[in-house]
Symmetry: C2
Subunit: 205 residues, 2 copies
């Protein structure tokens, strides 16, 4: 692209570093900012700068937090003996939105993925194993996405904690509520049949 | 969404003010920044802040510029007597990419659009008419997108400058009617400039 301004070119280059945002979209966003009051741009810039420089990660569960301990870990009504293992903050938010879970979390920060150069030491697995060793956890719920990387990560953690006395479960895979059976993929449908539950149990939710 | 951090919530709210970016995408972008080195976020924040606070608009053609006069207006090889009227900076970039045009530009800053509350005074039409009055322009090429708003704007300007002795042309419609200029391929756009026709002729179709 042939920019008439170094300032514009630089802004477009920076914006297009963001994932999923190409040069054309970046240019559209930059020109949008130029049409808005200057305060809009400065509050956007300040918000992302503060986010990056001041954010903390909960020292117990590694969830994003503004304090040493996150709101969930701090909450006395949440059960620290039941720990749901998730990939990242978005999964915590998704599960919290269901209002179905009263335990706590452990945020791994990703999945083991040799293709992307992500090994166990790039994740918070060590800290999870230490928590299990210390005997504070009764149940560990695996809630990683059911991809090859998710399964690998589940299995790696499972092997690490096997010697210790902790119940290990995994969230049920099945047909989404409201989905037509005929459109479900075979693997999901297969699992939902194999892992069927007593009908009465489904009525309790 | 139920955020575990005010800093994150604030950043997501700010990012999702950008056009075409919803809360979910904004969250993905914010979490991406958190995984990158802090310098990435600060250089992004600095680039957009500087863009907004330091950008200038060329005092002759209203193109975006880092100086009083833009590179095109400053260039002695560009013909100031042939002026191409465009909506915004993206159109200047699109036409420059064709290398088919050796005149200069006049950037309107939009189109007349009563629906969006944009009238002639919100655009740089007055400054264009003054340039025509002063006799420095021999040919005015309309290169607005061929929408109802574009046609309205062309016609409004045409009526204003009709009393003065200036050739008025419009880029050839090799570009599909209703298409935005910036998405046209270079060859089509280049030809449409070379084959421009008198504006009056375009009214007959
Ligand atoms: Zn926590
Ligand atoms: Zn200029």
């Amino acid at each position: 692209m042939d920019f008439s301004s170094k300032l514009l070119e630089n802004a477009v280059n920076e914006i297009s570093q963001l994932p999923g945002i190409g040069k054309r979209t970046a240019l559209r966003l930059a020109l949008h900012l130029l049409r808005q009051p200057e305060e809009n741009t400065s509050s956007l810039a300040e918000a992302i700068t503060k986010l990056r420089s001041e954010i903390k990660f909960c020292k117990r569960c590694h969830n994003i937090s503004d304090f040493e301990l996150c709101e969930i870990c701090k909450n006395p009504n949440r059960n620290p003996e039941v720990v749901c293992v998730v990939e990242d903050v978005r999964d915590v938010m998704a599960i919290e939105n269901t209002s179905q879970f009263k335990g706590t979390y452990h945020v791994l920060g990703g999945k083991i993925s040799p293709m992307d150069g992500i090994g166990p030491n790039d994740l918070t697995i060590h800290s999870l194993v230490e928590k299990v060793k210390s005997g504070t956890i009764k149940e560990l719920i695996f809630a990683l996405s059911s991809t090859m990387e998710g399964d690998t990560t589940n299995f790696y953690i499972f092997k690490q904690i096997e010697p210790f006395n902790v119940l290990t479960t995994t969230i049920a895979r099945g047909i989404a509520v409201g989905d037509e059976l005929e459109y479900a993929d075979e693997v999901t449908l297969g699992r939902s049949i194999v892992n069927r539950i007593p009908f009465e149990n489904s009525l309790k939710i």
